[in-house]
Symmetry: C2
Subunit: 121 residues, 2 copies
């Protein structure tokens, strides 16, 4: 754990939100760090690969990073773009279908409108 990685970890771990690199980077700047963009990416990759945080990949959007390691799905609010945690049944699978294809992981993404945005509209 280098200083840079620790700082990135602390930022992600300080909020239940799902942060984008952009948001993490601006938090980094607030801490007067001279860290550079590539290091944020490197550190995030390290933290994900070593199980400290979780990467949420959504087509068409930049990656988001989540301190919540428990299995869960997400609802993407089409109004504000926020991700909302949603309980999930199973993410890890282990079965073969009738054609012999093997399944080991399931990723579910919901689209909708979050409660807050509904009130605004």
């Amino acid at each position: 754990m280098t200083k840079q990685r620790q700082l990135i970890y602390n930022i992600v771990n300080s909020t239940p939100d799902h942060l984008k690199v952009e948001e993490i980077f601006s938090e980094v700047k607030k801490n007067n760090s001279t860290m550079v963009f590539a290091t944020v990416y490197n550190s995030l990759n390290y933290l994900v690969e070593n199980g400290y945080i979780r990467r949420i990949r959504i087509p068409g959007l930049p990656d988001h990073f989540d301190r919540n390691l428990q299995p869960h799905d997400h609802l993407l609010c089409e109004e504000c773009g926020n991700l909302i945690d949603v309980p999930s049944q199973e993410e890890k699978l282990n079965f073969f279908d009738a054609n012999g294809n093997y399944y080991h992981k399931k990723q579910v993404l919901y689209y909708g409108i979050c409660y807050l945005c509904q009130k605004k509209l």
Copy 2:
């Protein structure tokens, strides 16, 4: 329907596979079309928006285009990168959860190893 759009449509509609822009573009060239990359993108967007074909977006991968308009999910083979059609329960939703968030669509992606790749390994 312009000539360009018709050609793109024919290419996508000629196979059950899930084509990438790259693949579509090389088919275009085989037809001696002088069509340019941007037009392929424009045409694909048009065809998707008007319900002729379906766009499959997968994080980290380029978009794929599918003539199959019936609701279905996909299995991404982590070995060969191919997408395999998988029957789906429901894609379109219409409900609110306990927190008042509204859900209108569900997207499921499976990861695994297809039958053919298992035999090779």
